[in-house]
Amino acid sequence: MRNIRTLITALLCTVAAATFAMADVTVSAAVNTTTVALDEQLVLQVDVAGAATNIGSPTLPPLPDFSVYSAGTSQNMSLVNGSFSSSMSFRYALVPKSPGKYTIPPITLQHDGKTYQTQPISVEIVAAGKAPAANASRAAPDRAVPEQGKGGKSLFVTATVDKPTAYVNEQVTYSFRFYRRIRLLSNPQYVPANFSGFWTEDVPPRNYYATIDGQQYLVTEVKTLLFPTRPGAFNLGNASLQCKIEDFNHGDTFSDDFFQSFFSGGKTQVVQTSPLSITVVPLPVAGKPNNFSGAVGQLKVASSLDRADTKTNEPVTLSITVAGTGNIKTLSAPALPDWPDFRKYETVSSLNISKDGDVAQGSKVFKTVIVPQTPGKKTLPPVSFSFFDPARKNYVTAMTPALVLNVQPGPAVPSVRGVTEPLSEVTVVNRDIRYIKNLVRWETYRGPLYRNGWFLALNALPLVLLMLTFGYVKRQERLNSDVAYARRLKASSTAKKYLKEARALSAGGTPSDFHGAVSRALLEYIAHKANVSAEGLTFAAIVDILRKRNVSNTTIGSVKTVLEECDLVRFAPAGASTDLSRTLEIAAALIGQLEKELR
C-alpha cells in the first residue's frame, strides 16, 4: 500500500515539476468533513507544492465563525532527475461557534510576486450531537450529569458551579474537569471561561481517576473560587482546552498525505464545555448595619494590645483580627471610634488566606499604632464589625471586648512638632493678573494741567505781584532820593490839603483865612512843582516858572486873577464881599488845569 502511494507521489512530483515549470506553485485546501456538530471540530489542511525551496506559508482569511488553532505543519523535499520540488502541509483545527452553513473563503499564498488561491469550501455546522460521528471527540454538553453517556469518548471536558444563584461577594465554586483515557503528546492549553464581574481565587489543580461507564478516566480538576462584585445575570461562556493527541486514523480517506505521520507527531484536539450562567442577587437592604462595608461570609472579630502598661507618648499597637470564611482579601478595616486621649496613626493590614476544602478562608489583621496623650487607666471601647452571613441570610454585627490600658506619665515631648516640622511655605500654584478695581467716585482725566487757563492764571498771579512790588519799591527809592521828584509828586496832594482847609474855613472861618488857604494851595502847588520854597514866591517868579513849563497864558492869567483876588480880600478886609464857594471851585479847577498842563 505504502509502496503504491510512494510511487504515485513520486510520479506526481515528476509531473508537477514538469507541468509547473511556468506556474511553479500549487495550493489546495480540504476539510476532513463538510458537516460537523457544534461541539466538534473541523480539520482544515492546506497543501502547498512547488519547485522552489522557499515557499511562504498560506494566509488564512478571517474566519469569525470559528476559533482557529494551528495543528502543525509537515514538509517534504525531493530531488528527482535533477529537478527539485517541495511540498508542505499546514493543518488547522477549526472549532465552530454557532450552527449554520458557512463558506471557508479562498486561502491565499504569495510567492514570487504572484498570488495563488484555493477554492472556497462550504461546511455545515449542526447542533451538538446531531452530526455524523467524525474523527473528533465530543465535549461534554451536560452539566448536571457529566459522567453519564460519555463512554465512547477518549477525552472530554465539563464545567459546573456549586450554586446557580449567589449573593454579591458570596463564594461560588467553579469546577472545570478534564476527562481523558488516552495519552497526551503535549501539555494541554486551558482557556478559562469569562470571569469578568467576579473576584477570582485559583485553587491548585487536582488529578484523580474516575470510572464512567466502565471506562477509567484520568480526571484533572481545576477549581476557581468566584466572588461576584455586583448583582446581575452573568454568562460565563464556555471554557476550552486544546491538546495534542496521537493520531490513530491514518486509514481514512482524508489522511492520504503520508508526510504528516512523520512530522506532525499527532493531531490537535480542541474540546469545550457548555456555557454556564450565574445569577447574582444584591444583598438585602433591610437590617443593613451602618458600619457594614461589604463583608460576606462567616466571620469573627478579636482585638488585642501589644502591652497592657505604657507611658504617655509611647506608642502601643492595637491589633484587630477578622477571621473566618469569605473573601478575606477585600475586607476593609473596621472603623475605630474617636479616642480623644490617643493620637492614632495609619492602619496597616496583614493577610493570611487558605483554600482548604475549596473554601476561601483565613484572617486579616489590622494594626494601628496609638499613642496615649494623658496618663491614667484608659478603657478602649469595643470595636464593632458587621458582615452578611449568606447561610443565615442576615447581617451579623460582631463586637470586640473593651480593652484596658494603664498609662503612666512619661517624659514630656518638648513640642517636637515645632522643631522638626518646617514652617509652611508659600506655594505659588498659578500666577495670574491682579483683579479688576472698583470705584466709589467717578473722576476722569481732563488733559494736562499746563493747558488749563486757571492753572496758568494761578502761576501768573505771583508774577504780577512781583512786578508790582518791584515798581513800588523803585518808586519809593526815587521818592527818597530825588526831592524835586518827591515834591512834584506831592504838589497835587498838598494843594488839595489846603483846598480842603479852605473848604472848612468857608463854612466857619473868616474870609481872610479862607482866602489865605486858597492862595496857599495855589502857591504850594506851584512851589512843589518847581521844587522852590513857597515863601517869598513873587508873582513874577510864578509867571516865570509857568512860562518855562509851557503853561498857556490863559491859565497863567487865571492864576494871577485868583491870587490877586485872594490878596485883595486878605489885605483889604473892608471891601470884601465875594462868593467863597465859587472862589474855591475856580481854584480847584485851576489846579486841575495846571496838573494837565505841567507835564
Binding site: K437, W442, E443, T444, P448, L449, L458, T469
Partner: protein, 245 residues
C-alpha cells in the same frame, strides 16, 4: 435778574455734571459685574463706551486691560495698562499686570537709558510734575518778592526755589516729550507686517508681534510710520494693526 439766571445756569451745569458722573459710575459697576460673570465681550464694550464718552481714568483702563487679557487680546490689554500707568504710575496693580503681560508676550528688555528714563517718568504723572513745577515757580516768585522787601534774609530760599523750579521744569519737559510730543503705539493685532513704505506695493521689512510697543513717527493715509528704538528699525504699518497709547 441776570444774576438769578446765571446762578440757575450754574446749578443746572453742576447737576448735569454730577448726573453724568453718576451714569458713568453706574455703567462702570455694570461692566465690573459683567466681568465677574465672565462676560468679557460685554464688559469690554461697556468699558470702551465709557472711555469714549467720558474720558478715562486709571481704574477704567486697568479693568479694560484685564478684560482684554481674559480674551487673550494681549495687545489691547497692554495698551490699556499703559494708559492706566500714565494716569496712575505708582499703582502697584497696574504695574504688576503690565509687567505680567509683557512677560507673556515676551517683550524684550529695555536698554538701560530707556529703563532709567522710564523709571524717572514712573515716579509721577504729568500733572503731578506740572503741579510741582508750578509750586516751585510760585515759591520762587514769592521768595523774590520778599527779597525785594527784605533783601538778604530771603536770598537762599529764593535761590533754592529757583533751582528746584529749573529741575522741575526739566523733568516736566522730559515728561511732555515722552507722553505728549512722542507718540507711542502698541501693536494690537499680530504678527503685523511692517513694510518699507506706506502701501502694500512696498516690500515687507520685518514683522511685529502683538503687544509690541513702538514709536509712532508719522502718518500717511492708512499707514503709520513706526520705529523700534532698541532694534533700530523703521517701517510702515497699516493703521488697523496699531493703536496709540
Amino acid at each position: 435778574m441776570k444774576r438769578i439766571i446765571l446762578a440757575f445756569c450754574a446749578i443746572i451745569c453742576c447737576a448735569g455734571y454730577t448726573a453724568a458722573a453718576d451714569t458713568a459710575l453706574a455703567t462702570f459697576n455694570q461692566a465690573n459685574t459683567a466681568f465677574e460673570k465672565g462676560q468679557y465681550t460685554e464688559a469690554a464694550a461697556m468699558y470702551e463706551s465709557l472711555a469714549g464718552r467720558h474720558g478715562g481714568n486709571a481704574a477704567l483702563y486697568f479693568n479694560l486691560g484685564n478684560t482684554y487679557f481674559r480674551q487673550q487680546q494681549m495687545g489691547k490689554a497692554l495698551l490699556n495698562y499703559e494708559r492706566a500707568k500714565r494716569l496712575a504710575p505708582r499703582d502697584r496693580d497696574v504695574l504688576y499686570n503690565l509687567e505680567f503681560v509683557r512677560q507673556q508676550v515676551k517683550e524684550p528688555q529695555q536698554p538701560f537709558a530707556v529703563a532709567l528714563l522710564s523709571a524717572l517718568n514712573g515716579l509721577a504723572t504729568l500733572n503731578e510734575v506740572a503741579a510741582l513745577c508750578s509750586f516751585c515757580f510760585i515759591g520762587f516768585l514769592l521768595g523774590a518778592t520778599a527779597w525785594i522787601f527784605y533783601r538778604q534774609r530771603f536770598i537762599l530760599p529764593t535761590l533754592a526755589a529757583f533751582m528746584l523750579f529749573i529741575l522741575a521744569t526739566g523733568w516736566l519737559f522730559l515728561k511732555i516729550n515722552v507722553e505728549v510730543w512722542t507718540d507711542e503705539g502698541i501693536v494690537t493685532a499680530g504678527p503685523a507686517e511692517v513694510r518699507n513704505g506706506p502701501g502694500t506695493e512696498n516690500s515687507v521689512g520685518f514683522s511685529l508681534p502683538e503687544g509690541r510697543k513702538v514709536v509712532v513717527l508719522g502718518e500717511n493715509n492708512d499707514w503709520v510710520a513706526v520705529g523700534l528704538s532698541s532694534e533700530g528699525l523703521r517701517g510702515w504699518i497699516e493703521k488697523k494693526y496699531i493703536e496709540k497709547i
